[in-house]
Subunit: 380 residues, 2 copies
């Protein structure tokens, strides 16, 4: 039997996704150890106000790591800076993978330096991939799996971010395979937000009916389907970030998620609301606008959905409301599911479709764990 190869995992962010990732990591650790393959060790766990760096590199107990971090926090003390922490991490024996389960733009900003240290990155954090195009270019010019050859030979790390679009659904891996095997992707269209999916499946169901738009937003908020401030969903920026990532993967040099047409569902008159509460209180005054859109779609036998689309040939990216025939897979979506349609030369008139839950801690963590498996295979 060959000796087990040590692989050090550094986790930042222990909210819902980070915690779900730890439980999947524990499963993977015992699975790989039983087969005498990679020896996974959790060497860092960090949140905004505390961290444990296990600098003997033997690894923390994954099952109790969050509890240990809680105790650490209550003991106080100054937090080591993230960059300095990475300098330590780079001295671990064997390979190191940083798992960024935050949505922190500052951590994202540090990726180029992390990759140059030979540390690989897997993350559901959209910030690094959906901000300025120069950030994207820098990351992939450095990463060992970027389009430039030879970076691995320089000792750089790999980077994967499947969960930045559609959570654990195989969206980025499928798009990448279509492109790598020489297919021509002509159009991508879909529902990329669990919140928007739930809202429009309730507001304008195929079977008819549905409450007022403000009532549905209120219901979605109560059920936990929206961000604490629903305006963070309704402004369309989350969808725009996902479209930015997909469009860049098809080769389009999208400057930023605000450099194309994004329809906000926040009425202009409410843009200056001071609080989420004030916004929710006043949203009902504008229900007639959404009712009109629904009525107009109904008149032509259609329903409205909040979608994103990329016309690759024209280089056009759009985010906003569109009407769909009731028999269209986008109209027939259920609950808070996402759906992504890839139209390609090879697949012809019927797209390749990926559909399912596109949000939630467990499925998001699954995308991260899947990326970790990809890195493990590449690091052999």
């Amino acid at each position: 039997m060959p000796p087990q190869k040590p692989l050090s995992i550094a986790l930042i962010g222990v909210g819902g996704v980070g915690t779900a990732f730890l439980s999947q990591l524990a499963h993977l650790q015992s699975h790989l150890r039983a087969k005498n393959k990679t020896d996974i060790r959790l060497v860092l766990i960090r949140r905004s106000n505390a961290q444990i760096l296990e600098s003997s590199w033997r690894g923390l107990d994954i099952g109790t790591a969050v509890k240990q971090l809680e105790d650490q926090r209550s003991s106080g003390g100054k937090l080591l800076g993230f960059e300095e922490t990475c300098v330590h991490l780079a001295t671990a024996p064997g390979q190191v993978v940083l798992v960024d389960c935050t949505s922190d733009p500052q951590i994202a900003g540090a990726y180029p330096g992390v990759l140059k240290k030979g540390i690989s990155i897997v993350t559901p954090n959209k910030k690094a991939f959906s901000s300025s195009f120069s950030d994207w270019q820098e990351i992939f010019s450095i990463a060992a799996n970027g389009p430039n050859a030879g970076e691995r030979e320089k000792g750089h790390g790999f980077i994967f971010h499947e969960s930045t679009v559609g959570a654990g659904l195989p969206v980025l891996s499928t798009l990448t395979e279509l492109i790598e095997t020489g297919d021509e992707v002509t159009k991508i269209e879909g529902v990329f937000s669990g919140t928007m999916s739930f809202l429009f499946n309730s507001f304008n169901p195929v079977a008819g009916g549905g409450g007022s738009f403000s009532a549905e937003v209120g219901k979605a908020k109560e059920l936990g389907y929206t961000e604490p401030d629903p305006r963070d969903d309704l402004n369309g920026l989350d969808v725009a970030r996902k479209l930015t990532i997909l469009a860049r993967l098809t080769g389009l040099p999208i400057e930023s998620p605000t450099s194309f047409a994004v329809q906000s569902l926040i009425p202009k008159e409410l843009e200056s609301c001071a609080s989420a509460d004030e916004f929710m209180e006043k949203l009902g005054e504008f229900d007639s606008r959404m009712d009109d859109l629904k009525a107009s779609a109904t008149a032509s036998g259609k329903v409205i959905r909040f979608v994103g689309s990329i016309d690759v040939g024209k280089g056009e990216v759009k985010v906003g409301l569109e009407e769909f025939e009731k028999s269209h897979p986008i109209a027939a979506l259920k609950g808070s599911d996402n759906i992504i349609n890839f139209y390609t030369k090879r697949y012809g008139s019927n797209p390749l479709i990926i559909q399912g839950a596109g949000a939630g801690a467990e499925v998001t963590a699954m995308g991260v764990t899947g990326d970790l498996l990809r890195v493990i295979r590449l690091l052999k």
Copy 2:
């Protein structure tokens, strides 16, 4: 720049899929050469009655390889045996990948020996994976990516077969990732045959109508959607083979594709027909049976579809006709598309769905090329 790593490709079978694969291989070759990465060389092209083994290992011109093979055939001569050819292949510099684009059970039977020689295999040939369970176990006990550790260290090859289910759709890779990341797959259900999809979408459309069953079979045959002998589709064995593969991947020890309930759509009375023509002539006499099934489904607002399903917990595999609500994604399928629903603990009540063309030379070859990319990454 690091030196290019040579990778020798040996293709058997130059029908529709083999030819489409060659064109994708040409694309991949120039892509990888341009980046100074892997240097792909086509060193063998073989059909049942001729082959060219380019034993200087510099590689054939991919664009004219089929033409060269045609010329070879007309020149006659005795064909070197497959096993003997593999002995030669194993002496190529660098790694070798066998691309089996036949549906030949004899080639499939040779896989264990090929893998032991260190040659990796990528294939859409279902035979090796859907025949006896002991064949399956033997292959994966030898393959470097099987569940046993250490086989790579013995110099064994890798094996991938994405295209054996749903052609180029990411079906096996998605199922594998669900399992590897620790999800619990509870049920798999779907339409796994482009022929059956087309037949029932035409015979029993959601919108109502549709011709008689025998007329629809005739139409499908004319349009090239069926095998030359439509009984090869209607007996359900093709679907049963795919279900066998999926069920085995979930861990069920399925003995063979005939060891579970498979509904054949060939009327008992016509099982003894001597020819496809005789069968097609007489099929209309049994149309009332299918009409009755359609009427009964219609009465409860449903449609009938030919599906396969695996209840993982109960260890039950079934292939045959089922009724579905008109709003169900399986009912709403279009054309000859496949749809695969993965029900898992993590995804909850709404399944993870993969949908799109599940047959055709181009998309089948795409799955093979995608597998080749997987092998290239692992061979680094």
